[in-house]
Amino acid sequence: MADNLPETPLLNELEKGAWPSFVKEIKMAAKRSPMCQDLLGQLEQSYREKIGYWKHGGIVGVMGYGGGVIGRYSALPDKYPKVSHFHTMRINQPAGWYYTSKALRDICDIWEKRGSGLTNMHGSTGDIILLGTTTDQLEPTFEDLSKIDFDIGGSGSDLRTPSCCCGMSRCEWACYDTMALTYDLTMHYQDELHRPAFPYKFKFKMSGCPNDCVASIARADMSIIGTWRDDIQVDQDAVREYADKGLDITSDVVNNCPSKCMDWDGKELHIDNSFCVRCMHCINVMPKALRPGKDRGATILIGSKAPIIEGAFLSSVLFPFIKIEPPYSKIKDTVDKMWDVWCEEGKNRERIGEFIQRVGLGNFLEAIEIDPVPEMVAHPRENPYVFYEEYFEEGDDDEEEEES
């Protein structure tokens, strides 16, 4: 079948170099998958003519689900009939992206039988991405995947598949069990994941420490980032060992501390923890000598997103520190209130961060019944005018009227 590969001089350029090449992978798959042969043909034509030849479908899916399938059709179905339908399926990945090799083989076997055989492990959403199948294969694929305990993930205006770093399973910096929280939220919010009911998408991303390996601060409507509230644990002997072995602690650690709260006198490392902003820099440089504190939990932030309607946002603080322990009631209560307000008042395609910006953080906090705290201030004020708003308790007016 390899002989049937179309001529692809432009795509061939992308096989050069020392890095992985998706063209190489598609060509390999094309030896067994006729779909991939036409895919190469259409892609080459797109590169040549600088025109994308995919049409977006908005209806295809599996019965009862409103997300997880992204419809794609070729705009050149007569020329490339094997990719006339080329739908993508998003499959809910296991928390932390752990698989047995058998599970991976089973997924690939299903996809070679039901689709193009091409996967993207993993997409930027975190899901397992299965690329390219036909409408009539969607339900059978879903059934086959269900039999091996996989379910479809989120897409559209729903809760997107929650994702997390590997957390406590592999990483000593994890300040809470990211995988447990991810699993719990995924199971608790199944309805929201599969039945789009929001103004737009909503993402949870869990990172075990401020290194934020899943980049939740830039990509999640709710970023849950592990942190600690006591002092960094310091092993002074290990610090001295680093110095003896040539680490320039002053220049590489102390001078790079963003809050300038460290001091090294050549024998002892001193940290004024009241000024530490938990950036992880010093811990990353001297992992044997420094560790996060023992009183661990997470900072919860809201509102980040990539630029689509408004520009890119980073998350800002909602809870400076909370303990992350099952059954995670405080998180769930807050999320339910946030969704309630956003669903009621949000505009179509308005992310929660944009919604908060439109209505104002003060109004949003009032609606979800959270008191403002200084840590919520994302940056210095831009408005030189100061307004004081008088707040009256209900009944104050009546009293005044009675008095006057």
């Binding site: 049409k55 977006h56 479908g57 908005g58 209806i59 295809v60 899916g61 019965m63 009862g64 689900y65 409103g66 997300g67 419809g71 059709y73 070729s74 179905p77 006339s84 339908h85 409408t135 897409s155 559209g156 205006s157 729903d158 309805d191 039945r195 789009p196 009911a197 929001f198 103004p199 737009y200 669903c343 009621e344 179509n348 395609r349």
Partner: protein, 81 residues
């Protein structure tokens, strides 16, 4: 008297049918319309159940055109045979 899931689903279905291709309705639009129509006889929770029933029965489908909507099943413009 509180409305049943079936009654709400029927009223929602009629709204979706009337809207046809003129106006796309989101689940929250349907819920808000039900609250407007039936007042205290419905709440958000039962509306959610009614939407679930509409979708699971196949009478309506979720669609995605820049945002997610609820529509009657139909052949989409982009589809190839």
């Amino acid at each position: 008297m509180a409305k049943s899931v079936e009654e709400i689903a029927e009223a929602m279905f009629n709204l979706v049918k009337e809207a046809g291709s003129q106006k796309k309705l989101k689940p929250m639009d349907l819920t808000k319309s039900m609250i407007q129509m039936f007042g205290d006889e419905v709440d958000k929770k039962i509306c959610k159940e009614a939407i679930k029933q509409l979708i699971n029965s196949g009478r309506c489908v979720y669609t995605y055109f820049g945002g997610s909507f609820i529509e009657l099943p139909h052949r989409e413009g982009a589809a190839n045979d």
